[in-house]
């Protein structure tokens, strides 16, 4: 585990000086706009947080960093796992920050005066139980799902096929939705949303545990698959 943490630290050092500052700027501007529009808008930049790690793949390839990893006392498998953990961690940090900001935006209440219509819809959503916490949890799940698929494809095909892996990820998701609609009349999605609704009604805390757990779990499964790919593949 300590090996993975060291590799996560390494990823964060590399990326900190590459894409964190532009992202923090982007996130701050976006959040500020969210303060005027809606607390939900404040959370939305989390969607992009996990992708901040993505340049690491091309940095690795451009600088032939397999040589560096090959000379470090770490396993190939842990290298892959650490990359997923870095993405999950950065998304989690962005999520916490944006949730604090979202609650703060409710306190400040600028959007109430500036956008009364949006405020009304915000109140309706709150009444329907679609809280900031639940939206944030969904966003985290979506990010983990997309990252899990795309990073696995990146390990499978290499960073030079980055554009292909992005397209392939969305095609896989789209394919799943279309297949569900055509073959099962959308029942898979219905089952999924029913389970989540029941969980939400039963206990909000249980809903969070299940959805966050499933998100991290999915990322972990993808990390382990990528670890296996890396173990067998020459770098």
């Amino acid at each position: 585990m300590s090996e993975i943490l060291k590799l996560v630290k390494m990823d964060l050092i590399i990326i900190k000086n590459k894409s964190v500052l532009p992202f923090v700027f982007f996130m701050s501007v976006y959040m500020f706009l969210g303060y005027i529009i809606s607390p939900y808008a404040v959370i939305s930049p989390v969607l992009f947080a996990g992708f901040m790690i993505q340049p690491l793949f091309s940095i690795d390839e451009q600088n032939d960093m397999s040589r560096l990893y090959g000379s470090l006392p770490v396993s190939r498998r842990n290298r892959a796992i650490a990359r997923f953990m870095s993405a999950g961690l950065i998304t989690a940090i962005a999520l916490v920050i944006s949730m604090i900001a979202a609650f703060h935006s409710v306190e400040v209440g600028w959007f109430k005066e500036l956008n009364p219509e949006l405020y009304e819809s915000y109140c309706i959503m709150q009444l329907e139980g679609i809280t900031i916490g639940i939206v944030a949890c969904f966003i985290y799940a979506v990010v983990c799902f997309i990252l899990g698929i795309q990073y696995t494809l990146l390990y499978l095909f290499g960073a030079s096929k980055e554009a292909f892996t992005m397209i392939a990820t969305f095609l896989i998701i789209l394919g799943f939705i279309i297949a569900d609609g055509l073959l099962f009349d959308g029942k898979t999605m219905d089952i999924f949303s029913n389970v989540l609704s029941r969980l939400m009604i039963k206990s909000e805390m249980l809903f969070y545990i299940v959805l966050y757990g499933a998100s991290v779990g999915f990322l972990l499964i993808c990390a382990l698959i990528s670890g296996l790919i890396m173990k067998k593949r020459e770098i």
Binding site: K6, M10, I14, N63, M65, L68, S71, L72
Partner: protein
Amino acid sequence: MEYIMKIDNLCKSYKAFSLKNVSFSLPKGYIMGFVGQNGSGKTTTIRSMLGIANKDSGNIELFGLDNVKDYREIKQRISVVFDSLCYPPHLKIKHIESMLKSFYDKWDSEEFHRLIKKFKLHENVKIGKFSKGMRMKLMIAVALSHKAELIILDEPTSGLDPVARDELLDILTEYISDENNSILFSTHITADLERIADYVTVLNDGEVWYTGTKDEIMDKYVVIKGDEADLPDEIMNKSIGYHNYRNGFEAMLEREIVSDLPEEIEYEKANLDDILIYIAKESAKNE
């Protein structure tokens, strides 16, 4: 004699190239030059040692440990200096240190900063802006800061000016003064090896052509020149890389056969460059 590195019958096949039963060993406390023309298999051998490439068969032992099973312990004790930077170029020296130090049990920050000062590397400049010589020194500083007992140099001097090359050789000479340290030095610039290497391994077309002491190989061969008509067929057949020009011929020969040469044929001691050239010519002739 204690060996720090032992490679036995290493085989590794790619579509267009293969390493065939590569075997050589490096005694502790010595420098081994690792030479061969481009594509001879030097980098593949090094990549196999590091586990970057998966060997097909054979054994690689470093410090008496298996390079696959015991890679963690081995990599605590080795360092690799590559021909080009293997760190992200947008980082500064402080980032490199904080990125790497946690991986090594024996990392010495004081030593790292002492070396950075000694090598006159700018701490506040992105390493991508360093000259080739400075980049090489940074990799050496990393190697020395975690007390590596074996440094593997993969053509670090290619593209370096003579002053930087000379500085590198001085650094290596100082490093090897500790008898626990050893160096595997892969290079095209054989003059560097003639200056500092104790042992030499020559790879040719994926096979070990020679492995042994530098003095032995330097004494073993001579370059012969003269008129083709003066060269007996028997000696021509024993020569290596024989080729004729309009005004005569040139070839390499084992020194022990020199006594059989006619007086008209001139000969001189072959240096490592000559040896590599004649091996390449011989290979080309046999293709």
